[in-house]
Symmetry: C2
Subunit: 1005 residues, 2 copies
């Protein structure tokens, strides 16, 4: 049996053999090996640095009094830094697992997106958590920045969770049971000290003293930095950081402090990084040219299949006929959302790009898996079409002399165009006759054209967040490791990010990612299919759905419809195999929402429900790989969910010790936003604002009481352990804990409902109190965050304001409620701790109107109708929708053009004129007096608050009168007084629609 200590030594050997320097755990309490100067400082600058070390890592918040199978305040990391990227870091990593006895072909090893950021250290990177049969065993990051300084050479950071790996290897059900050496278990060695640390961290550590310590540490760090001392400063920053973590575990970090402390630590970390870099720079970065890891590539994993023998493909360009084209961008595992984005982009621009390049082609297929983005085009013409263009030469009279013989000008033109003089023809243009030459451009070979195009295609892809990994400085979602580009049998030669194209693709990871040379583009799909890879995401999703349903059916269960989950799972595997796992029935006593949230958030499992929608003690995981060793994979996944549920149970029990109300004060420790204060501050704002909304919505007093109580409690669950752990359970747990605390069912329901709708298709609150609170919550967020200048920009929307605004619209429309948003926002702003400018208020209204516009357009209303409705009623979505609805009917009427035009005449002629008050006595002509009369009647029919129907119905009788008016009356009379009166009359007509609809937005107006 490989003991815990054996495993640590083996990995050190493995990485030392690879050329890594071995280092020691740090002499300070750190939360992760990253904080050891061997990482946080030495990744800086241009020098190569390869290092491996063990790091016992302390995270007070993770303490579970040794009651969780694999979560502890101290766990042991094995930290590896590879800088620069050796080109095959994943392979080396997988080899290191093999050194521990973990063979990739026997397990489901996955690279699942997980980006890393340390706000205290000013560091971030992109990467994955590596899953071994569902269990996270390694954090794998491409380090992009440290101490606020971008890394000129990104570094690969591997962080192994050693206890979990060894648990797995030993088949232990709990970390406490693993063998540390031949004589002691891990629990025998560390359990007492774990419990002691938990007691100290959670119950005892003196908050005042910790704060005093933090300040002293910080001052010493500043002192060290003032003298340019990097490592001594870092030591104190680490002490600050650990002290901060203790304060946090004690629930003693308030909002202002949290933000301030992070900023202070980040600032110190930046100075420390600068001090370190200054030292290295002064030394001339002496290692820059030094070799990094051992260069010898590792042999790849065991092959499950022999690679196909590629047919020898002549380099000679094929230039006739058509051939299939294949581009495969081979990547390290893309995040599911990135894959989705990339597919959308490729679908959008590839066909157009081919057309623009004048390459005739058949169907364009855009496929993808986590490890490949694929463009497959049928029947690509091997050449562009030839082109003949006419080029104008000299005028005829200059081209031919009197005898009609070509002049030297004609000869020169012909020569310059490469045609015979006799081939020049005469053509008549607007300004006379000229000679023209037919200029023939032959189509270039498709291979050459594509070779030029492809790098641009890759470069064109954009991701929410991109990373660099090698010296080319290219940014992409994840590193590109190979390019397969074939036109028929020929390689399309190109290069990007240091990778050259070829005919070699790679099989899936479980097969050891074997290199496979393709004879032809046509071989691609069948070849990958032979490895079980389904490259078409739609086909893959269908297959997953089918398998999952079949597996669920085997226990008389069903899986709930969840397109988002299905899409994510589809984007996480390329060889999908669904498997059924089970968990202990006792966990079913936990709230079902909790159980499902854990499955989905942490593991991307499909829950299994019975016919009545009740959760069964099963889950469905989808592994990447075939059916081999499925029991091993199942066992691993079951262990994972067990630990997760143990954690959930721990949280649940802990939370239930106190009533929900008791958590409210701890909201002071949760930031809403720095300038807007804590969640407690927000909750307090809602306490005055939500009742206002309730009253505006006309809630009866009983409902208002419910609303009041629900508002008081609605954010409290954010401070419970469960919600801290899984934010998605906000509201769900609030309801649960409210019920347990004896709150009324109505209050509990409203607490839950105030979080609705959480997604576009989500349910809406049913209770009036829920609606009012949900509205108030969102409006407060919008008003506040816009007020402090945090309106979403570009694709960035860290506070989810698009969702909030859309929620407001959905709530109002869905419940058919009329609420003037300007009033509501004005009220919301009153409670803010900051001043909101009128511009900010308007920006919120515009922003919500923008969402409303989208909703109405999606509902099928014409663009101009929506505009017309919004321009007048954007402030009140329900009324705006009503306007759009009614207007749609009106514009469909046969008399609409006449109605519109007559109204438009009134509007157009008054545009730009000063608004004046109508003095009826000044009107002289009978037509205008008649018009005034019918106008008065219409005005009576359209009191304030009227709808479009009322307006237009009242307007119909005016049409002939308006016509008559314009026929007989000269509006712009010379007599100013008369002119003014007539304009005022027309302004009154135009004004009929004010606040109801802006007909000027309509087409043809």
């Amino acid at each position: 049996m490989l003991t815990f200590q054996d495993a640590l030594i083996r990995l050190q050997h493995f990485w030392a053999d690879q050329g890594a320097l071995l280092w020691q755990p740090y002499s300070e309490k750190v939360g992760a090996g990253t904080m050891n100067p061997a990482t946080i400082l030495r990744v800086l600058g241009p020098e190569p640095w390869n290092v491996a070390y063990v790091e016992p890592s302390y995270r007070p918040d993770d303490g579970r009094y040794a009651e969780n199978p694999n979560r502890m305040q101290m766990h042991t990391q094995m930290q590896v830094i590879l800088k620069p990227d050796p080109g095959d870091p994943q392979e080396r990593y997988l080899k290191s697992l093999e050194a521990l006895g973990i063979r990739r072909e026997e397990h489901d090893i996955r690279f699942v997106e997980d980006n890393w950021e340390s706000p205290a250290l000013g560091a971030w990177g992109l990467g994955w958590e590596v899953w071994l049969d569902g269990q996270e065993i390694t954090q794998y990051t491409y380090f992009q920045q440290a101490g606020g300084i971008a890394l000129p050479v990104p570094a690969v950071e591997l962080t192994y969770g050693m206890e979990r790996i060894v648990m797995y290897l030993q088949g232990a059900r709990s970390v406490w049971d693993i063998q540390w050496d031949a004589r002691h278990t891990y629990g025998e060695i560390l359990r007492d000290q774990e419990v002691d640390h938990c007691r100290y961290d959670f119950e005892l550590a003196d908050i005042d003293r910790l704060q005093a310590l933090y300040d002293l540490f910080e001052q010493e760090a500043r002192l060290a930095l003032a003298n340019g001392l990097a490592v001594p400063a870092l030591d104190y920053i680490l002490r600050c950081s650990h002290t901060f973590n203790l304060l946090d575990a004690r629930g003693a970090v308030g909002v202002t402090e949290r933000a301030a402390l992070f900023k202070r630590m980040r600032d110190l970390a930046r100075q420390t990084a600068e001090a370190y870099l200054a030292q290295r720079e002064k030394a001339g970065f002496p290692w820059t040219a030094r070799s990094g890891l051992t260069a010898a590539p590792l042999s790849s994993g065991a092959l499950m299949h022999l690679p196909l023998q590629p047919a020898v493909s002549p380099a000679a360009a094929l230039t006739a006929g058509v051939a299939p084209f294949l581009l495969e961008i081979g990547v390290e595992e893309l995040p599911a959302a990135h894959l989705s984005d990339a597919l959308t982009q490729l679908r959008a621009f590839v066909p157009a790009a081919l057309d623009a390049a004048k390459l005739a082609h058949g169907a364009v297929q855009i496929w993808g898996t986590p490890r490949r983005l694929v463009v497959a085009v049928a029947d690509v013409a091997l050449r562009q079409a030839d082109e003949t263009a006419e080029v104008r030469g000299p005028a005829v009279r200059a081209a031919f002399d009197a005898s009609g013989a070509p002049t030297r000008a004609a000869e020169g033109f012909a020569r310059s165009r490469g045609v015979a003089v006799s081939d020049l023809r005469v053509k008549t243009f607007d300004n006379g006759d000229y000679v023209v030459a037919a200029q023939f451009t032959p189509g270039r070979p498709a291979a050459a054209v594509l070779a030029e195009l492809l790098p641009g295609w890759i470069a064109q892809l954009r991701f929410q967040r991109a990373m660099r990994w090698n010296e080319t400085g290219v940014a992409f979602s994840r590193p590109i490791r190979w390019l397969t580009a074939l036109l028929g049998e020929a390689v399309v030669p190109c290069a990007y990010a240091g990778v050259e194209s070829g005919r070699v693709t790679r099989g899936p990871r479980p097969a050891g990612s074997p290199e496979i040379a393709l004879a032809s583009a046509a071989d691609y799909v069948p070849t990958l299919a032979s490895y079980g890879v389904i490259v078409d995401p739609e086909a893959r999703a269908a297959e997953i759905q089918r398998q999952a349903q079949a597996v669920a059916a085997s226990v008389d269960g069903v899986i709930p419809d969840d397109p988002a989950l299905l899409e994510e799972v589809t984007h996480l595997v390329e060889v999908p195999t669904a498997l059924l796992g089970s968990f202990e029935k006792r966990y079913l006593t936990l709230p079902q929402d909790v159980l499902i949230a854990v499955m989905k958030k942490h593991q991307r499992y499909f829950p299994v429900l019975d016919a009545r929608g009740r959760l069964l003690a099963y889950f469905i995981a989808v592994r990447n790989g075939g059916r081999e060793h499925l029991d091993t994979v199942r066992q691993g996944n079951e262990d994972v969910i067990r630990a997760r549920y143990a954690d959930a149970e721990f949280f649940y029990k802990q939370d239930c010790r106190r009533p929900l109300e008791a958590y409210r004060d701890r909201l002071a420790t949760l930031t809403f936003q720095a300038d807007l204060g804590s969640m407690l501050d927000k909750a307090r704002r809602l306490e005055s604002f939500a009742p206002w909304v309730g009253m505006r919505l006309g809630l009866p007093s009983l409902e208002l009481e419910v609303l009041e109580r629900a508002t008081f409690l609605c954010k409290a669950d954010l401070a419970t352990s469960m919600v801290v752990e899984m934010t998605s359970l906000h509201g769900v747990m609030g309801r649960e804990y409210a019920k347990r605390a004896g709150e009324s069912p109505a209050v509990a329901k409203a607490i839950f409902e105030h979080t609705l709708p959480r997604t576009a298709g989500d349910a809406l609150p049913e209770s009036p109190a829920g609606v009012a609170l949900a509205l108030a919550d969102r409006l407060d967020s919008l008003a506040g965050l816009f007020a402090v200048g945090l309106a979403p920009t570009g694709s960035a929307d860290p506070y989810g304001l698009r969702r909030a605004a859309l929620g407001v619209v959905q709530l109002l429309l869905g419940r058919n409620l009329s609420l003037p948003l300007r009033d509501a926002l004005t009220e919301a702003v009153r409670g803010l701790p900051v001043k909101a400018t009128p511009e900010a208020l308007q920006a919120v209204l515009d922003f919500i109107a923008g969402r409303l516009q989208g909703v109405l357009r999606e509902a099928g209303y014409a663009y101009d109708v929506v505009e017309a409705a919004l321009a007048a009623r954007g402030d009140n979505p329900t009324l705006a929708r009503e306007a759009a609805q009614q207007l749609t009917a009106w514009v469909a009427r046969s008399d609409w053009p006449s109605l519109r035009d007559n109204y438009a005449r009134c509007v157009r002629i008054t545009r730009g004129q000063p608004r004046t008050t109508l003095v009826p006595e000044r009107l002289v002509e009978p037509e205008e007096m008649a018009l005034y009369k019918v106008l008065q009647k219409a005005e009576a029919q359209v009191p304030p608050g009227s709808d479009v129907d009322a307006l237009l119905t009242a307007f119909v009788p005016l049409v002939p009168v308006i016509q008559a008016f314009f026929d007989k009356v000269l509006v712009m009379a010379e007599d100013a007084s008369l002119r003014e009166a007539r304009l005022a009359l027309l302004q009154r007509i135009a004004g009929l629609a004010e606040g109801i609809v802006d007909l000027s937005k309509l087409e043809g107006f």
Copy 2:
């Protein structure tokens, strides 16, 4: 090449293979691996615990700004704990060195006494530093106590200094040059950070903040302890400890603080140990029965010689004739002083013990080496002599009836004594005639007698400090590993400390300590001699002296006579081979005293002087082992002295940056004694007391000025780095730095001289100021330490008061100075911060008189003469010696008995009589009147301050008059008035000697 990281991994492998658990460096800054809970806590209690780990260890004070070849504020330890003692820990340790490629037969590997104590942790142990060719590479300790709690099972602690070992293996001249891995040197990795830490530690760390941190850490530790949390408390204690070290490096720990801080840390450590033990006890000490290290013994090192074949020795007891006897107590390396003590004790009691056991024997030889204590006795009778004793029975009249036939009483007696009734004889006693029986006791075989005796002999040995190492609980200087006990060819069977006696001895370490069976006791010396071991320490010393002189002569040098060094070296090796090493000439610019002190203190090298007494750039080391690989050993030793001299140079340069005077204030940070304050306090006391002494000694004013300045500066060098490092240089450096600071030569000289005499045979100060200051310094120490109750007890004399008192005597006698000590001490006491009782003052005087007595006795004065002199003049050594001198001449005179007796008559008759005043008018008889007359004359000849000669010369004329007086006069006359007058007259005669000599102490008085 074995890189630094390879070496760490190899040792981990080695110890893991031995069954040790592998652990990680600690997450706090520690000064040593000992402070890791894996040692300081887990050695506690009865459970087995075997662990190995790396520990980067931080000692701010050792920082040298990366300018020293092997001394740094951070160094890397490999820490190993073996508990319980596996029985062969040294062999396992040597094997571990072999795993690194260090073969014992190619090097000089030595175990040199080094006891370890951590006042902060309440921990101590005895052991060695292990030398590899002169370089300390490992600290090897038998842990006896931790956290103030004795270990029921002592633990072996090995602490490897990894940088030094790897330097050695790589042949690097500096730690900064060693290869960390194949690509980087140690310096490349750590030099910058070392310099930064030095800057922070020595120059920047903010003292006020450190003190605040210390307090906060301590409070948190107390909080954790109040809740029984061991490890969290330890964390804070370690932070306290590191903070203390930083404060110390900043020179900010005053006397009171130092003592207080240590006590506080020790107190916390004790509570932590108790908390940990309570946890283990609560768990029932679950590992108690668990196996420890792998039991399989390691094969011993390579044999240089085959062991002798032992002749088969019959177990049958030889009972006639004589045979040589051998007892060898095989031990792990004894400290030199312990070896010396043990030899003295054995020499004292073995012959007597043999005699008491009635074993006839020839010459008794007591030998020893660091690894063996040997008793070799020639011609031991194989049997005790038979004995016949008479036993008295009943009285004759009860033993025989009237007919002379034996009664039943006689029969009973004969039977009880095992003799025939006819064998009873009659013997006359004081109180009558009795029957007696001759009781024959046959001598027992010597082997049986010795078997009973030997354990007692071993148990009888006493050491200054003893240790336990195994479950027997036996205490000895160092572990006993074998017992060889032979009488002729037969084993004397016995056992001690778990070891059974046998015929097997072991060869020396360089030969791999081969086990050698001895055929006979007579084989012992030649067998060991064949391995080069010289068991007789005198022979060994002579051989070392011879070799060292020969080696010195090879470079035209000589070695100064230094018996203490020669004895120590003799006690450190058993196979001595002297070798010549050299060092860089540039170091000769450092003060010679420094260079020699470094050699002797740290390395026990002999310095080599030229004919004029100037140091040459050589040293002589004495290795343990033969001439093989001598160049390797030389190279190693040269590297060591180079690093030592680099350190000395560092200190010297650092000290010279400021004038001597500038160090005076830092004396506040050095404790003299807790109640007596700092060295600065002592220096201040001397500033008033030394001038007083100078004036009493009649120094001229110019000398008094020198004295004043010298007094001001005399202790300042104690605060310099050089003297902090080597206390023996106190005074030497003071002189040196005073000269460099421009003090007058006289002041510099007095500063040095005030430390004289440092040893019994040392020189005395030449300058009057030096003498006065030396006296004042010693008298202050004596007065102060006696005042606070720290008079030496038994053999303990931690403050060196015996030396101080002897120094006072030597100074006064050597310079022939008359100083009344009572006056001087009374004056000294006035300056103390504590009150001294009259008893304490008297105790000091008695204590000094005790030294004086020894000096005078050694000078050859008769015991009684010395007593007579001391009784009257113990207060003034010079006068006492004068008295002894003169008295010696008087007692040699032929008329001495008459003189003495007549004086004695006067004294004796007045003893016990009340002292009365003589009223001459009351005298009536002519003889008494005559006596009064001559007395008056004599009194005039003996004024106060007279010496013995004056006294006795004046007394001679009284002799006949006294005789006549006693012949004629009845002293005890009935008339009280007359009686009183006569007694008063005689009292006046007796009183003549008062304050001059106490003749009553003489023999025959």
